[in-house]
């Protein structure tokens, strides 16, 4: 289990979305997973980002207040779901064409809950990487997310190959102490695979 029981524990409740500092925190925490969720319905990154951008503008303008993590998550995903549905309705002609290619995802309660679980569980793992100290997180992102080799990371970041290796190891050790064995095994399998492939480990 992720050590911080609550993924959003760093926030203190109730959350007032009219407070810019809190608004920014919630935005950074939820923007990507909500876009990912919306994309599951809209099949377009741009449409998803536009839909979720609108959602956050509304949260700010209405000074929404959230009382606890469950309510926050439920409200955000429900709004993202409704927002995605609206995006499709207001762009009927364009989405009709995609419908013809069989790309539509059904808007059902079941798809809502299951897609929310998918996006949010992945976010839970992804946030652990974001929580690492910046320089470790950057190296791990470049290696894990962008699939770069140690030399490439060294070139791009102006670090020595040895420092890149050190950061990666230290970052992974930190990650290990923060997430459970199972999640860690999933994440590290890519890194080690990567390193084996590159013959650098």
């Amino acid at each position: 289990m992720v050590k911080n029981q609550d993924d959003v524990q760093s926030l203190s409740y109730p959350l007032n979305m009219g407070d810019e500092r809190i608004f920014d925190q919630v935005f950074r925490m939820y923007y990507a997973p909500l876009c990912d969720f919306s994309e599951r319905y809209l099949h377009s990154k741009d449409d998803a980002e536009e839909t979720i951008g609108k959602l956050f503008v509304n949260l700010w303008n209405n000074k929404e207040v959230f009382s606890d993590p469950d309510q926050t998550r439920a409200y955000l995903y429900r709004s993202a779901y409704n927002g995605s549905l609206n995006t499709i309705r207001s762009n009927k002609r364009r989405f009709k064409r995609e419908h013809a290619y069989g790309m539509d995802t059904e808007f059902t309660e079941e798809s809502f809950l299951n897609n929310m679980l998918r996006s949010e569980m992945i976010a839970m793992i992804s946030r652990e990487i974001d929580r690492l100290p910046e320089h470790y997180a950057n190296v791990i992102r470049m290696s894990y997310v962008e699939g770069l080799k140690n030399e490439e990371i060294a070139d791009l970041s102006g670090l020595s190959v040895q420092t890149v290796k050190n950061y990666k190891n230290k970052g992974m050790n930190l990650l290990k102490s923060r997430v459970s064995g199972r999640i860690f095994a999933i994440i590290s399998s890519f890194l080690f695979l990567d390193q084996l492939k590159n013959g650098l480990f």
Binding site: M1, V2, K3, Q5, D6, Q9, Y13, P14, N16, D24, F27, R28, Y31, A32, P33, C35, D36, E39, K45, E49, G53, F56, V57, W60, N61, V65, S67, D68, D70, Q71, R73, A74, E109, E110, S111, L113, N114, M116, L117, R118, S119, E120, M121, I122, A123, M124, I125, S126, I129, R141, Y144, V145, V179, S180, G181, R182, I183, I186, S189, F190
Partner: protein, 392 residues
Amino acid sequence: MRPNHPLSESRLFYLFKGYIGGSLTELETAELNGWAELSLENRRVLEDLVNEGYIEAGIKNQQAFNIEAALLRIKKEERFEKGRPAYKLLKYITIAASLFLVCFLGFYFYQKKVDTSSVSTAGKVIHTGGNNAILTLASGETIALNSAKNGRVAIQGNAVVNKTKEGQVVYVPGEDVPDAIVYNTIATPRGGEYELTLSDGSRVWLNAASSIRYPTVFTGDKRSVEITGEVYLEVAKMKNMPFIVSSKGQQVEVLGTHFNINAYSDEPLTKTTLLEGRVKVSVSQAHHSVLLSPNQQALSSGQELKVATANVEEVVAWKNGYFRFNNDDIYSVMRKLSRWYDFEFVFDGSLPNEGYNGTISRYKNINQVLAMLEYSNAVHFKIEGRRVIVMR
């Protein structure tokens, strides 16, 4: 409404987190599997989330969004309102006026409704909790203990399940050792509490929204049970057969003692408090355990395990029929109350960081309890149906 999702959203999230993290108890795993059996789509979600390729693609997709750029972009949008005092004031006046209208109309129709039918408001009122639980037999059959007749309720693996006239359940073991171990579960809803006696004579008190799963007769060299929520146990002494209680990520091993476990999934820590004897508390995530002495409390969360001195009276207040707050923050107070009175709560604005003190019977109605908290003058409440609004 949602036949495929009988579990609440927050429960499902809790189960999924534990599933991915590998920290679910046997009972919880069964609960999640039960959900997965409901549809092909449910099963698929469960499989995807331990599939390395799926997770890798998912993380890459989420990390690809440029969050900072998006934040700057939306703040530049015309629709993103900047603080404009005059405009805001106007907005508030409009809101106040419409709220007044809504309240007035609401009151008007409410009055009308009461005149014509006083029954229609039932179910929208906050009730005081009471004796209430569901017994699940080995066959999966469920019995509402409230409405079950006194006397023999069932026979389960050689044990007779009796309901006493005091409204408790008692397991009486038969003469012979049963062929197979059979498990039963008793669970209380929000607003319920229940007391039972296991076949070894150990007594169990369940607080609201809690459960215990146990074999109807204990055999072998251990007595193992699983709990969720909050449970007080008086374990009968059996020298060669330790009693083991598993809950959210931890295990408590005892020989014969009195202790309380608070393991609600919405509380940040699992608290195990000892009143008598000795218990050993260990967390499943780490090879780490502590031995508690009376008046000590183990606080566990994930791999963490700490020992503190406990205010025992406060911990077992619920079992003795009252709420006792001792410098508790308002969030913890509201969580406790909402489990017993079964209401939802929302916070209106931010509240002062005040500690609340006080003792009040659990059998008072919700208004009396909230009135007590209002004495502090730091907080006020408004009840709307089954919702309590907490404000300054």
